[in-house]
Each structure stands twice: as C-alpha cells, then as structure tokens.
Symmetry: D2
Subunit: 107 residues, 4 copies
C-alpha cells in the first residue's frame, strides 16, 4: 500500500468536508487511541485462543478490519500533519529495537 497516496486522499477527504481545523496532532492522537481501544474491545473478553481464531468469526473479523483501517488512517494523518516520515521512522525504530533486543545466540 502506498501510504503517501493514502495521506493525499485523506487530505482531500478532510478538505472537502471543512474538517481541517479539527485535525491538529493533539486531536488526531486522541482519535488514534480511541480507535485502538475500539479495536482492543473486540478481544477483551476472549481467551487468547479465541482471539487467535478471530478470522473464523466473519462478523467480528469484518469489524476488526474496520478498526484496523481506522487506526491506520488516523496514524497516517497524524504523521502527515506533524511532519513525520513514516518509512524513515520505521527504519530507525527497527534499528533501535535490534540493538535493544539482540537475538539470542543460536545453538
């Protein structure tokens, strides 16, 4: 998926609806957490085993897809409106994680 193209589409969507003034990074961060929590709610009373099997429940799985999309769409808007290059941010964090959690020695 081309995240830059998605950012451009979401800019257009917001501009057409005069939502620009709401979409500052503080509000977008709040909306991101709210969507993450809505996603989490799908799993809250499930056992880990039931959660791992979510793809077998069509209704819950479709709902999950909607929440995943909402999280991604708020995240790319937040990055767009706070000057974060998503790809560079991920590459940098992967390096930090590799340093923080070195792989265990192989037998």
């Amino acid at each position: 998926m081309d995240l830059h193209a998605l950012q451009t589409r979401l800019r257009g969507f917001a501009a057409e609806r005069n939502w620009e003034s709401y979409l500052n990074p503080k509000n977008l961060a709040m909306a991101l957490t709210v969507e993450a929590a809505e996603l989490q709610e799908i799993f809250q009373w499930l056992t880990p085993e039931e959660a791992a099997d979510i793809a077998s429940k069509p209704e819950a799985h479709q709902h999950l897809g909607e929440e995943v999309a909402d999280v991604l769409m708020y995240l790319v808007q937040l990055a767009d409106r706070s000057g974060i290059d998503l790809e560079a941010a991920v590459e940098r964090k992967l390096l930090l994680n590799a340093r923080k959690y070195p792989p265990p020695p192989q037998a």
Copy 2:
C-alpha cells in the same frame, strides 16, 4: 512503504527471539493501544497550537517518530496474525466513510 515486506521482517524478528507465543491478536491489540497512548502522552499537556508545532521541537519530534513507528509495527503484526488484508480493509473503510459523511454541497 511496503507493508507486506514490513510484516515479513517483523515475523523474522519475532521468530529469532522466540516471541511467537506472545504475539496473539489479543496481546498485540493491547500493545497497540499502549503505544497509541504513549504517543498521545507527548501531546497531553500541550495546547492545540503547541501540538501543531511539534516539528519545531527536535527531541519531542524524534520521540513522536518512535511512537508512530511502534504503533505502525504493532498494527501490521496484528493484521498479519489475524488475517486482515490492510489495503482491502482501508479501501472498504474509505467507501463506508464516504457514504457516512457525504461532502457538503458546493456553493
């Protein structure tokens, strides 16, 4: 950014560290929300105006990039391990949103 390639890299990263058993969708959803909240924490005491200017504060901006990356990396792992096609999910949600929020009539 190629999100499928990122999913493959994160699978390898987890497998090398024997983290597989932790990464069920329930736990990943929890981790996603925790990272979203850490991102949100950067903005919680800022005014909307200060938040919009986050790119001018190098330390906070770098921190923000790390949290953005963490959210994206947990999201793609969650999608991967619960059978969600990210691109299809976003296209479907864009359609739903366009229907739910029709653009206002142009003057």
Copy 3:
C-alpha cells in the same frame, strides 16, 4: 462513596450473571482502558474551552457521567481482583508525587 461497598456490590452483580471467569485482571485492565478511551472520545474534537464547558451540554454531560462511572467500576473491580488496597495505594502515590514535584518556593 464507600468503595469497599461498591466492590461488594459489583462482586454480587458478576456472580449472579456467571461473569466470574471473564473478570481476571488482564481483561479488567483492557476494559478499563476501553472505558477511559470512550470517555476521552467525548472530548476529542472539542477545543479546551468547549471541554471546560461540558456541564452546559446536558446530553454530553450525562454521557460523560456514564463513562466516568464505567471507569470507576472497572477500576474498583480490578483492584479487588488483584489485591490492591485503593486507599493505601492513593496515599502512597500522593507521597511519591509530593516528593517528585516539590511545590515552588513562595514569594
């Protein structure tokens, strides 16, 4: 409000409905965050000034009261089922905060 009495009432409510097996601390922590996010959602597109004036909007204010109650009820259940004495925890944290943030010198 007597939080111990509230814990007892919520234990009875759960027992009558055979909800016991769901109410482990992990699930309760998830439900707590979900309710906090639902509360936060009320404020996400408001300016700080509009948020401060929430009591003047009867419908939003009533909704806020419901979310506040949900957060408190999950919090006391979580404390109950993980052996946390709420009053002792608050007294201890007030001391830690007073040490961490000493009051500024008075003129």
Copy 4:
C-alpha cells in the same frame, strides 16, 4: 475512601504548583487514558493465569498499585472539573446496567 476529600487535596496540590491551566477536562481525559494504558501494559504479555496471580510478584504488584492510584486521581480530578458527582453517576449506571443485563433465571 472519601473521594470528595481526595478532590480537595488534589485541588490544593495543583494550585500550589500553578498547574490549574493544564487541568481542563480534555487534558485530564487524555491523562486518564494514558494512565489506564500504563496499567494495562503491566498485563499485556502475561497469560490470564499469570495476570490473576499478580499479587505474588511484589515489584509488579507495587507498580500496579501506583497505576491504579494514578487512574483514580485523574478520574476524581476530571469529575471535579467537569461537574460530575461520582456517587450519583455510579448509582445511575448501576441501575442502567441492571436493566441492560438482567440476571439469568435461577434454577
């Protein structure tokens, strides 16, 4: 625990440190969710069984107590600054819940 007395103490604590301007309901709602997520983080990689046994791990249990206290302190401040009577809100929600989830018939 007397939640009104706690509200008064937290008002004094904030006033002494000139924090008043930060403590509008929008910011307090953000802080509440952040603390709930920090609490949740304690449980995110634990099995439900390990989570239920948290009281046996002194360090994690003490940490949990701190996060529980943080959530409660932000919640009572939020209620205080948005005109919510905590006790009335809980009584009303208990009634709504009893109506929404009637107890199953006894054998």
